[in-house]
Symmetry: C2
Subunit: 382 residues, 2 copies
């Protein structure tokens, strides 16, 4: 059955194909212009088709957020993959198993215990595993500061291990999400660049190899103008963007390529509320850029063709209900459909089994995101 | 491979089988004692095995939150199912399709437009569909107030339709979640009972049938002592409970049967933080009972054997990272495992492909929750 926005089963996560293509082309052009390789992160959609658009015209490497993604994309034509989360030592056997099925799997570490676990697993299997050292560039989520003497010690530990390969350093300027406006994001982008380059210099000064100097968050990579000393960037959210990104200034609302289509299931003028069939399992409970305060509630409510509905707020989400407060709700009736621009694309797509692909209001394709943290041993090798 | 809590792949959603059994038996005993049928809601886990424990010794009816659940459980031995969300008119064809595969599917409405859509679909297919009218008992999410003249009008519309069957009224005291303490919850429970019974009286006074008077939220049904006039209750979360329920007083922390096992992937004493491999896709971004303020952050951190770790807070979740702040983090090392009692079980289970079943630290089974909003046409009929 051919669907369009008025018939697609709700709640539906819908990707605007033209916007996705525009976003991926724009980031690819930026990377070319700034002289870095683009290693797109695919965690925002976890679909092969979107990853292919992101990698178009590039070397084909990806960044992923789970070993399940690493294996899934590895079995589908992408053979150089960075698992960009510090590896849990308990996952070292699975990482080695995934690595054996790929040309190149790159793992991230910031602690000698993790290096020991990975090195031991590699030795046991007779494999060589490749590691990047996580650098803290000010986000303070993971990683070592460039000037921390443990950085060079960790690099030496990796470099001297017969079954490990030291690839370089990796940083993520996630504190760009706390910014408001392009100028503030550019300050974080320069800090991200500068600290990654400093970390690489420390390694090279100690006669250690550092071929890769990798950075990237969507906000910083959407606005950065100088990437001197950087070899690759790893933005991901930019493929779809979301209202958080629009609120902090890394995109415009017109760039947002993901929306959730929802049907009105209740109209209550006496209490100025509507009820939608999109709840926490369709939208996630991400509250968005609360520090900016532009878009209260759980997403921006729009007409089906994308015009913002002023005066309406998606105030509450329960599991399968979305409660909207606002004036003049009697203009709606049961069965009307709304488009919701979500706060956080990465969390929304992960909740949906199927992503519907839209072109000018018609559903032209359906994509299936990979899910969870386990690998499918029965997946065909391509 | 046999797993235990030290080897199960993390992040893992783990159900404590003994606690689940204790919770389901306790609610069943309450229902018997209070003289009502128990129609357990299964949206909290969406697994056949847990539904069987909830239905044990009862008439076997279930409540569900999606038509996907209705069909899934309907194909697996449960043949009297209430889809307890007001039906989106666009979903009427799917509802009729699911109903045709069950002995009894009960739909919920509160608006004449929805009744029209469902009636039209039933007529077109030559089916009879059964409807419950949603009553607003003070939660103000959906439904008609008992004294609203539209209630009797809607009942008459249903009752006079040749292809519709009026089953009665249904209310949900969801505002019990805003309470603090048992006494406050009991006030909501009495309001829920009273308003549902009033609505039923209005129907009966108008010579309309009202065999079913259905109420239930987990907080109200966990503490209510009088259900005069009620025929069935529909709690769901009580099967697993969560820290929200413990914080408002509908259970104790020792009743919580769901936890997420996570591995430490970063230790940063210099900034008093740990990093876990459980992020927003393992725990959801539900902030919990913020009005109580007992459990800040995104869940209660415990040792593997369930002892609360005082002084540590799970302050930030990104997609696959959980950031913990606290003093004395250097007692942990990379690879240590923690147990997290989540704020909202219903959202956590829906994020996991597999739920691991635990008995005294051993993983004895794995259960698969049904997912999404579509039905699997190829599912075997049982």
């Amino acid at each position: 059955m051919t669907h369009h926005l008025r018939t697609v089963p709700t709640p539906a996560a819908v990707i605007d194909l033209e916007r996705l293509k525009q976003n991926t082309r724009k980031m690819a052009a930026r990377a070319h212009r700034l002289g870095v390789q683009l290693r797109p992160h695919v965690k925002t959609h976890k679909c092969v088709e979107a990853a292919q658009l992101q990698a178009e015209g590039h070397f084909g490497g990806l960044a992923v957020s789970t070993l399940a993604e690493a294996d899934f994309f590895g079995q589908r034509g992408f053979d150089d993959i960075t698992f960009a989360v510090p590896l849990a030592p308990g996952r070292a056997p699975l990482a080695a198993q995934v690595a054996a099925r790929l040309r190149q799997l790159n793992l991230v570490v910031d602690h000698p215990t993790a290096v020991d676990a990975i090195g031991e697993e590699a030795r046991r299997r007779g494999q060589t595993l490749s590691l990047l050292i996580k650098v803290d560039c000010g986000y303070h989520r993971a990683g070592l500061l460039p000037d921390d003497p443990n950085l060079v010690r960790l690099a030496q530990q990796i470099h001297s291990h017969t079954h490990l390969n030291l690839l370089g350093v990796l940083a993520h300027g996630g504190h760009s999400y706390e910014c408001v406006g392009v100028q503030a994001i550019r300050v974080v982008a320069e800090q991200e660049r500068n600290m990654a380059v400093n970390a690489a210099a420390h390694l090279r000064n100690a006669n250690l190899p550092c071929p890769t100097v990798s950075v990237g968050s969507t906000p910083t990579m959407a606005v950065v103008e100088d990437l001197t000393g950087i070899t690759e960037i790893r933005p991901g959210n930019y493929a779809l963007f979301d209202h958080f990104q629009a609120d902090i200034g890394s995109c415009t609302p017109e760039d947002i390529a993901l929306s959730v289509i929802s049907e009105v299931i209740g109209v209550y003028p006496e209490r100025s509320t509507l009820l939608l069939d999109a709840g926490a399992l369709a939208l996630s409970k991400d509250p968005g850029a609360t520090h900016v305060g532009k878009t209260p509630g759980f997403g921006r409510l729009c007409t089906l063709d994308g015009h913002p509905l002023e005066g309406l707020t998606l105030t509450d989400l329960s599991q399968e209900h979305g409660k909207v407060k606002g004036s003049d709700v009697s203009r709606f009736t049961i069965g009307d459909r709304l488009r919701i621009l979500p706060h956080h694309s990465c969390l929304v797509t992960a909740l949906h089994e199927t992503l519907y692909v839209e072109q000018e209001g018609a559903i032209v394709d359906t994509w299936q995101p990979v899910r969870g943290w386990s690998i499918d041993d029965k997946a065909p090798k391509r």
